[in-house]
């Protein structure tokens, strides 16, 4: 076995602390039964952030329209449940499939141009989909949202309850599955080429990496994961609204990822926990103006630098900059 293969294997291996972590996560709906709803939300947002991490953290594409895929997955899962059949797993598959399709279509738009161009194009796709969902009100319910979505029991036996315990387990299980997949992906030779493209696109091209097909593929996979997150949200809340496509959703998920750490798979999960708890705490104090504090947090985060913000002991004196955690 060659050296490179060994290296990839080593970084891809499950660490010892990861097993209890996931066990803890799966046990949390039981232990914190009162907070099952927020656990469900955290799992969904974590999955969404994970999908953005694939393109932002590992491939270096700044996207402001990732909510497009989230919304697409949510709407198609909700519509499928309403019009065809209420089974959640089939609905999830449909949500993922439609988001994947959309991702494959949109991946053509991010291949060329500068950061600004990509930013604009991704933003534009998100806006177009939001506009479509608004105007096709005979199908999507327009500005009122898609109501009357009833989801059947999971695997034919577990009914979604009011306290969201089944929902939380469902979302956590999907998150774990997707996490394992994403982990496999970024630690494969394919993942290594993605990082090469992120670090120096020109050089990656020169050593024979097919940059465009790699970008297309990773963008599509990320869209699929985002679609899964959206489908989970629609299924566990039984509702889909235009809010799913909103700009602030794309901005929030970017914030989550940056808080947790870009280019690190646990970044999305950590960020989701921090962000959701923070949102919960702030919005219980000032329900209307919590975006101000989120904005302030962003500004401080960027100005001080994330590395220094989470290491308070480096605030005084010439702190040495640590590596990514």
């Amino acid at each position: 076995m060659s050296n490179t293969q060994n290296l990839l294997r080593q970084t891809g291996r499950w660490k010892r602390w990861e097993y209890p972590l996931w066990l803890l996560a799966l046990a949390s709906p039981l232990v914190l039964a009162d907070h099952a709803l927020i656990i469900n939300e955290i799992a969904i947002v974590a999955l969404f952030a994970l999908s953005l991490d694939l393109i932002l953290g590992y491939t270096g594409i700044v996207s402001l329209g990732h909510a497009a895929f989230f919304g697409m997955g949510a709407y198609s899962a909700a519509l499928f449940a309403k019009l065809v059949m209420p089974d959640p797993l089939v609905g999830l598959a449909v949500g993922i499939a439609s988001a994947t399709l959309l991702g494959a279509l949109c991946s053509a738009t991010i291949l060329r141009g500068t950061d600004l161009t990509r930013l604009m194009v991704t933003l534009g796709v998100g806006l177009i989909l939001g506009e479509l969902a608004n105007k096709m009100d005979w199908l999507t319910g327009g500005a009122d949202g898609l109501q009357g979505v009833v989801i059947g029991p999971l695997l034919g036996q577990f009914e979604f309850d009011l306290y969201g315990r089944v929902a939380a387990w469902y979302s956590l299980a999907v998150l774990l599955l997707m996490f394992v997949l994403a982990r496999r992906l970024v630690n494969s030779p394919f993942g290594a080429t993605l990082k090469a493209i992120r670090d120096n696109r020109l050089r990656a091209m020169a050593i024979g990496i097919a940059v465009n097909s790699r970008l297309t593929l990773v963008y599509t996979v990320a869209a699929a994961l985002a679609g899964a997150a959206g489908a989970l949200l629609a299924q566990t809340t039984g509702f889909a609204s235009l809010d799913l496509f909103e700009f602030h959703r794309s901005a929030d998920v970017m914030l989550i990822l940056v808080v947790g750490g870009v280019g690190w798979l646990y970044g999305g999960v950590t960020g989701a926990i921090v962000f959701k708890l923070m949102q919960d705490a702030i919005s219980s104090i000032t329900p209307q103006y919590w975006t101000f504090w989120i904005g302030l947090f962003l500004v401080v985060l960027v100005l001080v630098g994330r590395e220094r913000l989470i290491r308070p002991w480096t605030w005084f004196g010439k702190g040495k900059t640590g590596g990514t955690p």
């Binding site: 700044v62 738009t109 604009m120 479509l132 962003l298």
Partner: protein, 290 residues
């Protein structure tokens, strides 16, 4: 039909004044500033509040809106923006989104979330009609006023850029910042001035546009995409590019909303994506970007 064209031109001119500061700062420092709309909002609110609370005449409010936003721009440039010029684009995007969120929430808190209404003076309220039938041209006086002001500003900007010493310094800094600094141009001062003037113009645009575009706390988010379209499509190397892009956008938007109201903003966004796929560096850029 001519009326729509006229309205589209007025709208486009307004967008140009709002976005030109963004184009220049983005070309100069390669800084993606999503908070530009916040300066426009500040200008709009200065005008509205001055008129409502202190009965300042409308014409006097416009320069005040310009000065207020320019001052704010200068202060923020000096304190917050400058450390970020050499950070990656992701940081800049996050920072300016954060600033926008703060601006939106503060406007909501201090002034209220309702739509602000501006009382125009009598002489701007009328409407003149020329010709008849399909070729009738109906010109709202206020729109005429907007076009006149914006055209005068455009000519003044073009003059400053092309003929004055400051303009040549600015152009040199846009072309190559390091060489310009090496030639003894104080790039920091050039940039501070440009940023302040750009913010001021945005404020003026916000004040002028309060009646046409509507003014509420979500203004920076709602129109952010339009400013960015103007800049991305027009390119950042000249001011004619953004001008043409703004006119195109204005006419396409007004015509689209008039003829096919069901599609809403759909046309504009699709057009933008198509143009950016076709020419990623912008529609009116001669060279292939930096």
């Amino acid at each position: 039909m001519l009326t729509i064209l006229f309205d589209g031109i007025a709208y486009g001119m307004l967008l140009f004044i709002l976005a030109v500061g963004l184009a220049v700062t983005m070309g100069l420092m390669n800084f993606i500033n999503l908070a530009h709309g916040a300066f426009a909002m500040v200008g709009g609110y200065i005008t509205v509040l001055l008129m409502q609370k202190f009965d300042v005449p409308f014409l006097l409010c416009l320069p005040l809106a310009f000065l207020g936003s320019a001052l704010l721009g200068a202060v923020l440039e000096r304190t917050l923006y400058r450390p970020l010029y050499h950070k990656p684009h992701l940081d800049q995007v996050l920072f300016s989104i954060g600033l926008t969120f703060m601006a939106v929430a503060s406007a909501d808190y201090f002034i209220g979330s309702g739509q602000q209404i501006i009382q125009l003076p009598e002489w701007l309220k009328g409407r003149t009609e020329l010709g008849q039938g399909a070729w009738m041209l109906g010109m709202g006086h206020y729109r005429l006023f907007i076009i006149a002001v914006c055209a005068a500003l455009t000519i003044a900007l073009q003059y400053v850029l092309a003929k004055t010493r400051f303009g040549s310094r600015l152009r040199a800094s846009v072309d190559d910042q390091r060489v310009a600094a090496g030639m003894g141009i104080n790039v920091n001062v050039v940039f501070l001035t440009t940023f302040a003037v750009g913010s001021g113009l945005a404020g003026l645009g916000g004040a002028l546009g309060a009646e046409v575009l509507g003014l509420d706390p979500s203004f920076p988010l709602k129109f952010m995409i339009y400013f960015l379209i103007v800049v991305a499509v027009g390119g950042t190397s000249s001011i004619t590019g953004p001008l043409l892009a703004a006119l195109l956008l204005g006419i396409a938007d007004v015509a689209g909303k008039y003829y096919i109201p069901k599609l809403g903003g759909f046309i504009v966004y699709s057009l933008m994506i198509a143009i950016l796929i076709w020419r990623p560096q912008g529609l009116f850029v001669r060279k292939g970007g930096k």
